[in-house]
């Protein structure tokens, strides 16, 4: 799965990995009983391992990075590990340099999705991708700068504040098209300004849903909310709208922030959705 190379029509897509996140299963599945979630994912002492993923899309002249991982500014929290290197190593394995990235799109600004936006050098914080425009929803920007106490420890100002001073920040107010094939859609719930990426090219479709759903089963059954969703009821509505899009046919690809990409619909044996 790591560094996988896929294509959607004329767009090429690479799965980049910034290591693994270990979390309590209850912290991921919330009200879903352990008897149920433990039949879906393997765990040890209730701890489950989730990949920390970013995606690289080549669409025409644009090289779009969707989420930048935890970054290297700080020592990794013990909750994270990187046995195969960080996201920049993964990017290099895909054959690209940070200077080639033209757009960085953050699904949201939690530090495991935006920490790699910036790097530290000589005590200064600088954009990791100096040629890129960073595309963030205006609502997310506002939420990150003045976070709700429930999410305060998930945002880290050095991940995003320096982008404004450097002039390579583009704030969006809703849906937008980045290239002929790639667009972003505002689907709040996990955070107030969470966005997903939709790809449509030569009759094929795909979506990178970020943390709209942490794991595939939380998308398959929209009522399976995650405790990290700041606005769970709104996220249920967002997931339902995305499911309508996915269910429109053609077996679209769906990619997550912390689960392997797959083609929709998923084959589940949990009985929650087929």
């Amino acid at each position: 799965m790591v560094d996988a190379d896929l294509s959607i029509g004329a767009c090429r897509l690479w799965v980049l990995q910034d290591g693994w996140l270990t979390d309590d299963g209850g912290s991921v599945f919330g009200r879903v009983p352990k008897a149920v979630w433990s039949s879906l994912v393997s765990s040890r002492d209730n701890q489950i391992e989730l990949p920390v993923l970013g995606y690289l899309i080549e669409s025409g002249q644009e090289l779009i990075l969707v989420d930048s991982g935890c970054g290297t500014k700080e020592e990794l929290d013990p909750q994270f590990k990187r046995p195969d290197g960080d996201l920049l190593v993964s990017l290099a394995r895909a054959g690209f340099d940070p200077e080639q990235v033209t757009i960085v799109l953050n699904t949201h600004l939690h530090t495991d999705h935006a920490g790699g936006n910036t790097r530290r050098h000589n005590g200064s914080i600088l954009p990791t991708f100096p040629q890129a425009t960073y595309v963030i929803q205006e609502r997310e920007w506002a939420s990150a700068r003045s976070p709700h106490p429930l999410h305060a420890d998930l945002y880290h100002a050095p991940d995003f504040e320096p982008l404004q001073a450097s002039g390579n920040l583009r704030l969006l107010n809703g849906d937008s098209q980045l290239t002929d094939a790639v667009g972003c859609r505002l689907y709040p719930g996990h955070t107030p300004g969470h966005q997903i990426v939709v790809i449509s090219s030569a009759g094929q479709r795909g979506a990178i849903v970020g943390d709209l759903a942490t794991l595939r089963w939380q998308l398959a059954d929209p009522l399976w909310t995650c405790p990290y969703d700041l606005l769970p009821a709104i996220n249920v509505d967002s997931k339902r709208k995305v499911l309508e899009w996915l269910d429109a046919g053609g077996s679209p690809m769906v990619a997550f922030g912390h689960d392997q990409p797959l083609f929709w619909p998923i084959a589940t044996d949990s009985g929650h959705r087929t």
């Binding site: 500014k73 290099a92 200077e99 050098h121 000589n122 005590g123 200064s124 600088l126 100096p130």
Partner: protein, 115 residues
């Protein structure tokens, strides 16, 4: 592509001695960084920066070389730079990553006297 870390800042006159001592320590520390191809530390004699202005230019082979040079825990540069940041006049410290708008070879040719 050759990549430069460029920083500029200003120091109040009454803190110059303290600042220049910190700058000397920083220069000594930086000699240990093999990835830095060249280094220039300049004090503005006349120009637009508030007095007393400083310019610092580190040259690297690439952005990747700069990145590898600055990752924790190997690098303690933040500590070395802390006194400089503290002594800079508020709002004057600026830093960025720079490249040559021409390719490296053209830049070298441009720098040489034609005659």
């Amino acid at each position: 592509m050759t990549t430069y870390f460029v920083a500029q800042w200003s120091v109040p006159a009454d803190r110059l001695a303290e600042h220049d001592a910190a700058l000397t320590r920083l220069l000594a520390h930086t000699r240990g960084h093999a990835a830095i191809r060249s280094l220039q530390a300049l004090r503005q004699r006349w120009g637009p920066l508030p007095r007393h202005g400083y310019l610092w230019v580190e040259e690297y082979d690439s952005l990747d070389a700069l990145d590898r040079d600055s990752r924790p825990p190997a690098c303690t540069c933040d500590e070395q730079w802390a006194p400089i940041h503290a002594l800079a006049v508020e709002g004057t410290f600026r830093a960025g990553v720079w490249t040559n708008p021409l390719d490296d070879e053209a830049a070298i040719e441009a720098a040489r006297p034609s005659g």
